[in-house]
């Protein structure tokens, strides 16, 4: 979707066109849900949060200034909902690996052992670091986009990604030794 198409859909959605908003959701759901799945580690919870984020974005659409992309804006809303939910529920960092089982084995280019080791290592990362890794290494967001989503300085995000990546690499090494 080109920025012009996106701007046109946003303008139509602001006027109450739910079909235009459905097209926006359809175009950006993969990035938002992918990020939240990696961040929360709970597939079903992540999809519920993504849904809530898109509905919240709809209600606040008039306030969207277009300084970031639409997907970054919704991802930021989703991130804050997920983080607040974790804090209020005192949720443990235990992950589920359902999504690994549901991925088509034929399409998966990495062995299941590596993906499980990675999922566990992701669970052990601090929240902000895990979010930065999930955005930049997992879903292909740029460091600047991640900084805008997480509301952190660019240097901090870069540092989170570098450190998180080192820890994930270490986790793969440990899984080899086991």
């Amino acid at each position: 979707m080109t920025p012009d198409d996106e701007a046109r859909l946003i303008a139509a959605a602001r006027k109450g066109d739910s079909r235009a908003y459905a097209a926006l959701v359809d175009a950006h759901q993969q990035a938002v849900r992918g990020f939240l799945r990696r961040f929360t580690g709970h597939w079903a919870d992540a999809d519920d949060i993504a849904q809530e984020a898109f509905v919240t974005a709809w209600t606040k659409l008039a306030r969207f200034e277009g300084r970031s992309s639409f997907r970054s804006w919704v991802s930021g809303i989703g991130f804050r909902i997920a983080r607040d939910a974790r804090r209020s529920h005192g949720r443990s960092a235990v992950r589920d690996a359902d999504w690994l089982a549901e991925q088509d084995e034929a399409d998966a280019s990495a062995p299941i052992e590596d993906r499980i080791a990675l999922t566990r290592a992701m669970a052990d990362l601090p929240d902000e670091q895990r979010a930065a890794v999930a955005l930049c290494l997992g879903e292909g967001f740029s460091h600047s986009e991640a900084a805008a989503i997480l509301k952190q300085p660019l240097g901090t995000v870069k540092s989170h990604v570098t450190r998180g990546r080192e820890r994930l690499l270490r986790a793969l090494e440990v899984s080899d030794d086991a």
Binding site: Y21, Q30, Q51, W58, D107, A110, E139, L169, L172
Partner: protein, 102 residues
């Protein structure tokens, strides 16, 4: 295979499906549920307000019309003429807009 390549492979691809119409549909349903209760309430309040205002104006108007029938009739004719004039002006302006666009 190096650890870097294994990490890239394990992280490769999104954790969510590229196309999922069912998800978009769920979002739209949740959105409509959230939107319509508010709109219904606003519409009811608006209609109630208009009805209350009309009722409060109708009673003194009818009481006054009973004693001033001729003035009331003149008022009706005046209002009808005004509505006709406004309608004509709107029609002319719509026609002028169409002609100017050509």
């Amino acid at each position: 295979m190096t650890r870097e390549a294994r990490l890239a492979a394990a992280l490769g691809g999104s954790a969510a499906p590229a196309r999922d119409r069912a998800f978009a549909l769920r979002v739209i349903e949740a959105m409509e549920q959230k939107r319509y209760p508010g709109e219904t309430l606003r519409a009811m309040l608006r209609a109630g307000g208009i009805a209350a205002a009309a009722g409060s104006l109708a009673y003194p108007l009818l009481a006054w019309a009973g004693t001033n029938a001729e003035a009331f009739q003149n008022g009706i004719w005046g209002a009808a003429a005004l509505i006709g004039l406004v309608g004509l002006a709107r029609l002319m302006s719509a026609r002028a807009t169409v002609l100017l666009r050509r």
